[in-house]
């Protein structure tokens, strides 16, 4: 016979089981979510491990000193040389050209949109710039090779069909949206009363923008610039298409040359056997590239963190 007492007891036990199951389920779900979040760290570790492991094998064949000082990069020739300098010079020259285009234009656009533009213009221009940033890089490469290069050749007849100049210019246009949107965000985060104070002292809009808002947003703007640099250094398709893929130690933008990224593309297009020294070179090149961009990203991160703390 079921007494009142025992019925109460089973009900209580049921409730206890329910809350136990509920707690276990909660913990399981939390563990799964945590695993997904930790995956991002695992990816970073996997990248580093993969690049370092193949690079170690590479550096058993080639001394680091040769890698850093040899002026020729011809790993696939019979008389192989493994000097990263020609690839670095190509990367530096094309990135510099890109930055000369992107930083001033991006900053001017940001100042205009943040301080001068009427609401309607900003509402149209911002999504437009965003669309511009979404165009695939291979399309920009096509544009550089088949539109900008012929255009430049009509002004500079001696320009070859592949050049760092046209690749760099297009790369610059390509990263304008990144620079302008981050710079604008930084400037808009500057509190209104700073501007009002400046206007009250009789400053013009331009004076306010240049001497009050920009200094106040300095670290945010610097972070935007640094991310732009890291973007230019890591950009692949534009240089692979428009700058040629011949390693060439030069500082002259009118010459064709290969960047680190273009070299990786060139090797990948061929059919290199897994485990050969040629296969390992792209990992050594990749490691160099990762270190370069990582340094820029960390500086950018530190700057952004500092600027967040100001207000």
């Amino acid at each position: 016979m079921v007494t009142e007492e025992s019925r109460k007891r089973t009900a209580y036990a049921g409730k206890l089981g329910f809350s136990m199951r509920r707690r276990v389920r909660e913990k399981c779900i939390e563990a799964m979510l945590f695993a997904s979040a930790v995956l991002s760290v695992a990816i970073m570790l996997a990248i580093v491990v993969m690049l370092v492991r193949e690079s170690i094998v590479f550096f058993q064949h080639v001394s680091i000193w040769d890698f850093l000082t040899d002026t020729e990069w011809t790993p696939l020739f019979d008389n192989a040389h493994y000097g990263i300098l020609p690839l670095i010079s190509g990367t530096v020259v094309s990135s510099l050209i890109a930055l000369v285009v992107a930083l001033p234009l991006g900053t001017i656009i940001a100042i205009y949109l943040s301080e001068f533009a009427p609401f309607a213009v900003r509402e149209i221009a911002k999504p437009f710039l965003e669309l511009l940033g979404g165009i695939p890089t291979v399309v920009y490469g096509y544009f550089a090779l088949l539109f900008i290069t012929p255009l430049l050749q009509s002004v500079l007849p001696e320009l070859p069909g592949f050049s760092l100049l046209s690749a760099g210019l297009v790369m610059g246009i390509m990263i304008i949206p990144y620079v302008s949107s981050m710079t604008e965000d930084a400037m808009r985060a500057v509190p209104m009363n700073l501007r009002e104070g400046s206007y009250a002292m009789g400053a013009t809009r331009l004076q306010t923008a240049l001497r009050v808002v920009m200094p106040a947003a300095f670290s945010g703007i610097a972070a935007a610039y640094i991310l732009g640099i890291s973007r230019a250094v890591g950009e692949t398709m534009v240089v692979a298409i428009a700058a040629g893929m011949q390693p060439n130690l030069t500082w002259n933008p009118m010459e064709p040359a290969a960047t680190i990224t273009a070299y990786i593309v060139q090797v990948s297009l061929g059919d290199l056997p897994h485990g050969s020294i040629g296969y390992q070179t792209i990992f050594a090149a990749g490691l160099t590239l990762l270190l370069l961009t990582l340094v820029f990203n960390i500086i950018g991160h530190i700057l952004r963190k500092r600027y967040r703390e100001i207000y």
């Binding site: 991002s40 990816i43 490469g141 539109f147 692949t236």
Partner: protein, 284 residues
């Protein structure tokens, strides 16, 4: 003021020049045959059939792996994560991953998916490589969408006895779905145009066959053989045509580029529209 408009004009004009140049060169090639033919040695009869099929299948893999992982990581970081050094590391790491050049993801995929795990130069390897690439985009979008939900909603749910996961799955995720969707679309639009990682994996450019169909007429009706098939994608096909010296192939490149740009513009446009509507319809 004037220089601001000028700078903006330079960006606008470049875009117009880019688009006009591609339309002039590519539009005549955009016939029905272009979409239904395989690549060919003769430029006039070459098409993008294997490329767009490849792109579609690779995107399926990317979406199915990046979306659950990215949303889960975003939810964890925003709702569950305690404030400690581990969380700090994860957060810095997500920012860093977003700044890693795409070709590095290609090298990771080459070493890990293609050789270590033995996936070969397949759709699966490419889809996973692109998934890793857009993971930070999905994570950041999820976090921002969830963060914009007022605390009152969470408190209301807890007050009624809801557990954390019930609050997340019944309230936070539905309310932030539009924002998360925007992030997913932007991520996929980026993945569609990515060329470098897929070249690194070693995608073939001349593919005159389709991968095995994912849908079969016999039981169990779905097949996953296509995952391990060799493939090509739109940007690779375009890159291949651009790098040929013959002008006829460059016209093909323009046409393929046009399709690619229209695809990414449409996706990004959709994302911008969604965000705009979201901002207008917000109720709290």
């Amino acid at each position: 003021m004037i220089s601001g408009i000028l700078a903006l004009m330079i960006a606008v004009l470049t875009f117009i020049a880019l688009f006009a140049h591609m339309v002039l060169d590519g539009a005549p090639r955009l016939t029905w045959d272009f979409f239904t033919s395989f690549p060919s040695r003769r430029a006039e009869s070459a098409g993008i059939l294997s490329a767009w099929v490849g792109t579609t299948l690779v995107m399926l893999v990317t979406a199915f792996s990046a979306v659950p992982l990215g949303v889960a990581a975003g939810v964890y970081l925003e709702e569950y994560a305690p404030k400690n050094w581990l969380t700090e590391i994860i957060e810095i790491n997500v920012t860093n991953l977003a700044g890693v050049p795409s070709i590095i993801y290609g090298l990771l995929a080459l070493g890990m998916f293609v050789y270590q795990l033995g996936f070969g130069q397949s759709i699966l390897a490419a889809g996973l490589a692109l998934a890793l690439l857009i993971l930070p985009v999905v994570i950041v979008a999820t976090r921002e969408a969830i963060r914009s939900i007022p605390v009152a909603i969470r408190e209301g749910a807890y007050a009624l006895g809801a557990t954390k996961w019930q609050t997340v799955s019944d309230h936070l995720l539905p309310y932030s779905s539009a924002g998360i969707l925007t992030g997913i679309i932007i991520g996929l639009a980026r993945a569609i145009g990515e060329t470098a990682p897929i070249i690194t994996i070693g995608a073939l450019t001349f593919i005159a066959f389709l991968p095995p169909s994912p849908i079969e007429s016999e039981f169990p009706f779905v097949s996953f053989e296509w995952l391990s098939a060799p493939f090509t994608v739109m940007p690779i096909q375009m890159f291949n045509w651009v790098s040929r010296p013959e002008e006829a192939f460059q016209l093909n490149a323009a046409a393929a580029g046009l399709v690619l740009v229209v695809m990414t513009l449409a996706m990004n446009g959709l994302a911008i529209y969604l965000r705009y509507r979201m901002r207008k319809n917000i109720k709290w």
